[in-house]
């Protein structure tokens, strides 16, 4: 299964973390620090796989993609295929790209909830449920539309604050 999905900036700041096996916050911080340490010392143009036995247990590995100022990292165990995981990162990146029209770090920073929604349409409990970025995007858009239509009718304070905002 997939043990974790992490998006970490090249400065070492976590931008998105999802652990599919419970980790308390302190442990999460430790993992991020370790993963960032392992990735930041790797040169360009090397393979995308790193052993992760010491953090996620025997036989686990990290696969990552370095895009601009972000590392996108999946941790997985022996029940997943290495190249398939690499493809999955590609799907994730594609989806983000389509969703935010050329995704950049700021998009990731300011769309905490949306990122989780996208990820949740792709992976559930460490199991891949959808690998087609168009389908993922369609589901995410549907959800956004429904939430939008219901929020305008029911949330009075929001409309007040919106008026103040103008």
């Amino acid at each position: 299964m997939i043990r974790a999905v992490m998006v970490i900036s090249t400065q070492g700041k976590p931008r998105l973390l999802k652990f599919y096996e419970f980790q308390p916050p302190e442990k999460q911080q430790e993992i991020v620090r370790y993963v960032y340490g392992a990735l930041s010392e790797r040169p360009e143009n090397v393979s995308n796989f790193v052993d992760a036995d010491s953090v996620f247990g025997q036989g686990t590995r990290l696969v990552y993609k370095h895009m601009a100022t972000l590392y996108i990292v999946f941790a997985f165990d022996s029940s997943e295929n290495e190249l398939a995981m690499l493809d999955l990162i590609q799907v994730f990146v594609q989806t983000l790209d389509k969703c935010f029209k050329n995704v950049c770090e700021l998009d990731v920073i300011f769309n905490f909830n949306k990122l989780h929604t996208i990820l949740d349409e792709m992976i559930l409990g460490g199991q891949v449920i959808e690998t087609n970025s168009d389908q993922i995007l369609k589901h995410v858009d549907d959800i956004a539309r429904i939430e939008k239509s219901s929020s305008t009718t029911s949330l009075v304070p929001k409309s007040i604050s919106a008026r103040f905002g103008r």
């Binding site: 790193v50 398939a84 690499l86 429904i146 939430e147 009075v156």
Partner: protein, 862 residues
């Protein structure tokens, strides 16, 4: 769960000024992120302030204020690692919110922060989860929010407890049905529920199996994935053997590489249990290997063939060709990495294939990519045999000298580990290995001093023929002053000093040795190492005097002895006041001998063979000439405790036996760090009989309790009589069992003394406990019950409780099984035969039911 607080109408907002102020002036998540980013230096204080705001806002009666607070808190918890356990109740309060947005926020917060181990309130969520899971069938909200049940599915798969799982399992069944739009998600969640709570198997397993034959490819993919996880180690894959036909169908029909990969993974676990499956899948596998364009699928095929179809030559050849293709993809480091990984899987069965790629592997050791270096090292070690160990290890050590510190030590570690495995099985030429050890110690970044020193001493003790070379290597280490500054090497130097002293008879030049052992920079050594150095000087001195008297060595003459004595006196003398007890003790011993020898020399003048010097030197030499052998880690255990001995008895009453002399003796007990037991044991053996000052009371005690002392027979302490090597071990009363000491004698290799292998025992016992644990795995037990255990097999009561529709469905799945079983029912003889056969073929103890499965596969598939 409390019903949601009423939504604030405009009047209620106005009536509650604080609530209005909260919602008007509340900072949103974006505001929070912006303020943190605007001033990174004061991030902690901004976050602390926000957290106190959140603590206030989250208690607000206004759901919007509350939800924004929760959103901010979730963010801070997830990306800034602040605990949000204080908000567990507020999260629960928001789960029932009618606003889809708020509901999603609440579920996200819950799935990121809840866990049965830390969230005591988790059971309170049961009702709400149930409501949301079943919302599609209760029509009212389904039109407005068709994705609603996926939220609780996420929560279930991330933060569920066994209790929660068993309560909600029935709600998953409709979601697993054909018509459900959330079928794939429900399948993924079902896997987590099943593995958390095996008692849900009767309810969920059958619908999950049905999903394997779903029309929706995503559902099939998720279902195959779920079975892949369920059969993954450490789980026992045996219960899933009856599903082989279903999975095979998926393997042949599916178009999705994802699904095929997972199906192959399942087969790679099932084939070892039922080799006949191999002949069945080898054909589609070869087709994929030949035709597929998807690298991931090809990779999985290679792995499956290599790991479980080694006897299918044709497929094997294809796979090896593909591995070579991967290895030669110069432009893609990922493929080279995976190529090395799969190449390593070929050992030990197809070493020729590894050997063919030796050059590529050796080259990969210098790759800029650490992951590739790792794999290359692993492959290199996998293909190292007795025949090529010299070549491989020399290459590796040379590589280590050129690598960065971390990788260098990894290389050294693997070389040290694999060469010392099974009593240096890989090593044919110990002279070579010993000098390699010396070479390793000299590598600049070497931090493996502890292990190197252990092996040096160990080889000294075990391999008689290696000693001359050991002494030579030790000398080279000792005379190099630059090594004394490296604290990683202190143990190595200490071992070298011990070897030089212990096997001084192989030394070419004792004087040089003494000079090396007493060089000024030895002051940098820690106490423990210095003590060994000084003790070794004593041994060298004794040996030199002895060979001087015997005139056995041309290197030792009067002048040499005189120089040696004065050098020792000059350099060691000041240390007599050392504050370290270990050092002081040895120094005083040494100085005592030096002065004694010097005095007698003055007195006697010439070499009088009957004179005192002869006596003294002989006695001293006898002290050290006794050979030490390795001591088994289990030696102590073999001494059975006599019935009348009370080990817990207070030893205070022994004090009357212990005179001052004994006390002094026990204080001066040398403790050489790298081999404490053997040193202590043999030194005591020798000191005992030669010590003139042994107290009578001790003698008495020895006589009465002789059993507990190591034997002190004069005969055995005489070196020329100790032919039966090793001696130390044999002195233990009950450890002379011929069964335990295995001396492997080969023509080429020198003898390596082996004692019993305590470690082997330990690993085999842990293995058997693991097997035990596997058998007791409740999940596989439950699944076996459902899949196999119908008639008279004492199927678990939980199965009986399951609904009748499942029984019917199961019959459908296993229709042919029943047919095939009919013929066998009652023919217990046949079944026994089958079982026996199975046991012969299979490794550890598959449970009884496995034997019954065999015909299932047979009929279905073969």
């Amino acid at each position: 769960m409390a019903s949601p607080p009423p939504l604030p109408s405009s009047t209620s907002v106005l009536s509650s000024a604080s609530s209005l102020a909260d919602s008007l002036f509340q900072r949103s998540l974006d505001d929070l992120i912006k303020s943190v980013r605007s001033d990174p230096s004061s991030e902690p204080s901004i976050i602390a302030r926000s957290l106190s705001e959140i603590r206030r806002e989250i208690r607000s009666s206004d759901p919007l204020t509350k939800s924004i607070a929760l959103q901010k808190l979730t963010y801070l918890s997830s990306l800034h690692f602040h605990s949000m356990s204080f908000a567990a109740f507020h999260t629960l309060e928001l789960l029932p919110s009618p606003s889809p947005q708020t509901k999603r926020l609440a579920y996200l917060a819950a799935s990121l922060s809840f866990h049965p181990s830390t969230t005591e309130l988790l059971p309170l969520a049961t009702h709400q989860l149930h409501k949301d899971l079943t919302s599609l069938s209760t029509s009212s909200s389904s039109s407005s929010f068709p994705f609603l049940p996926s939220l609780p599915l996420h929560l279930l798969s991330l933060a569920s407890s066994a209790d929660l799982s068993s309560h909600l399992a029935p709600d998953l069944v409709p979601l697993l049905s054909r018509s459900s739009p959330l079928q794939p998600k429900a399948v993924a969640a079902t896997y987590r529920v099943l593995s958390l709570c095996p008692s849900t198997v009767p309810v969920l397993f059958k619908p999950l199996v049905d999903c394997l034959s779903s029309d929706n490819p995503l559902t099939v993919s998720a279902a195959v994935g779920a079975f892949c996880e369920l059969s993954a180690p450490p789980n026992d894959p045996a219960p899933y053997l009856p599903l082989a036909p279903e999975i095979y169908r998926v393997l042949v029909n599916s178009r999705s590489n994802w699904t095929l990969i997972k199906a192959l993974k399942i087969f790679s676990r099932l084939v070892p249990l039922e080799p006949r499956l191999g002949t069945r899948i080898v054909e589609p596998l070869s087709k994929f290997l030949r035709e597929s364009q998807a690298k991931s699928l090809v990779l999985e095929c290679i792995k499956t063939v290599v790991s479980c179809l080694p006897t299918h030559t044709e497929a094997m050849r294809l796979a090896i060709d593909k591995i070579k293709e991967l290895l030669s993809s110069d432009d893609d480091p990922n493929l080279r990495y995976l190529g090395l990984q799969t190449l390593g899987m070929l050992a030990p069965g197809h070493l020729w294939a590894l050997e063919e790629s030796r050059e590529v592997v050796a080259q990969s050791l210098t790759d800029p990519d650490r992951s590739i270096c790792h794999e290359a090292l692993r492959v290199m070690m996998a293909m190292t045999l007795q025949e090529n160990s010299i070549e491989s290890c020399t290459l590796l050590v040379r590589q280590a000298a050129k690598s960065d510190p971390e990788f260098a030590n990894e290389i050294l570690d693997s070389v040290l580990t694999s060469c010392s495995k099974d009593f240096y099985e890989l090593v044919v030429d110990f002279d070579w290995y010993v000098s390699l050890l010396g070479e390793m110690a000299r590598i600049v970044h070497c931090t493996k001093g502890d292990e190197i020193s252990r092996q040096l001493v160990d080889i000294g003790l075990r391999v008689r023929d290696a000693r001359p070379e050991l002494v030579r290597v030790a000398r080279e280490l000792l005379i190099d002053p630059s090594l004394l500054g490296n604290h990683f090497l202190y143990n190595v130097l200490s071992a070298a000093a011990w070897i030089s002293g212990e096997y001084v008879e192989f030394s070419k030049d004792p004087m040089e040795l003494v000079e090396a052992l007493l060089q000024p920079r030895t002051s940098l050594l820690p106490t423990s190492a210095r003590a060994v150095y000084i003790q070794s000087v004593l041994k060298v001195l004794t040996f030199s005097c002895n060979s001087h008297i015997d005139e056995s060595s041309s290197l030792v003459n009067d002048t040499v002895i005189a120089r040696m004595l004065s050098l020792i006196e000059m350099t060691v003398g000041p240390l007599a006041e050392s504050e370290e007890a270990e050092v002081e003790d040895r120094v005083r011993n040494l100085l005592g001998v030096v002065r004694l020898v010097a005095n007698i020399k003055d007195l006697s003048g010439d070499k009088d063979k009957d004179g005192m010097i002869y006596e003294v030197v002989r006695v001293m030499d006898a002290l050290f000439s006794d050979e030490m052998g390795p001591v088994s880690a289990n030696a102590q255990k073999k001494v059975s405790v006599p019935e009348d001995l009370d080990l817990k008895d207070n030893l205070a009453d022994l004090s009357e036996f212990i005179s001052d002399n004994d006390a002094a003796m026990s204080r001066s007990n040398p403790s050489i760090l790298f081999y404490p037991q053997s040193c202590n044991a043999s030194e005591e053996v020798e000191v005992g009989p030669t010590s003139v000052a042994e107290s009578t009371s001790l003698k008495e005690h020895r006589k009465r309790h002789g059993l507990y002392y190591l034997s002190t027979d004069k005969e055995t302490t005489e070196p020329e009589l100790t032919e039966d090597y090793p001696r130390v071990n044999e002195t233990l009363p009950l450890s002379n069992g011929d069964t335990t000491r295995r001396v492997k004698v080969t023509k080429l290799r020198p003898t390596v003394v082996k004692l019993d292998e305590g470690e082997d025992l330990a690993t085999s016992s842990s293995l058997s406990t693991k097997v035990e644990a596997m058998k007791d795995d409740p999940l596989s037990g439950a699944i076996k019950d459902v899949l196999l255990g119908k008639k008279g097999n004492g199927a678990s009561s939980s199965f009986d409780a399951s609904s009748s529709s499942q029984g019917k469905g199961k019959d459908k799945v296993k229709g042919k099984e029943i047919k095939s079983k009919k013929g066998e029912e009652g023919e217990s003889k046949d079944r026994h035969k089958g079982r026996r056969k199975h046991k012969h073929r299979k490794e550890p103890a598959p449970p009884v039911s496995v034997a019954q499965e065999t015909p299932v596969i047979q009929d279905f598939l073969l």
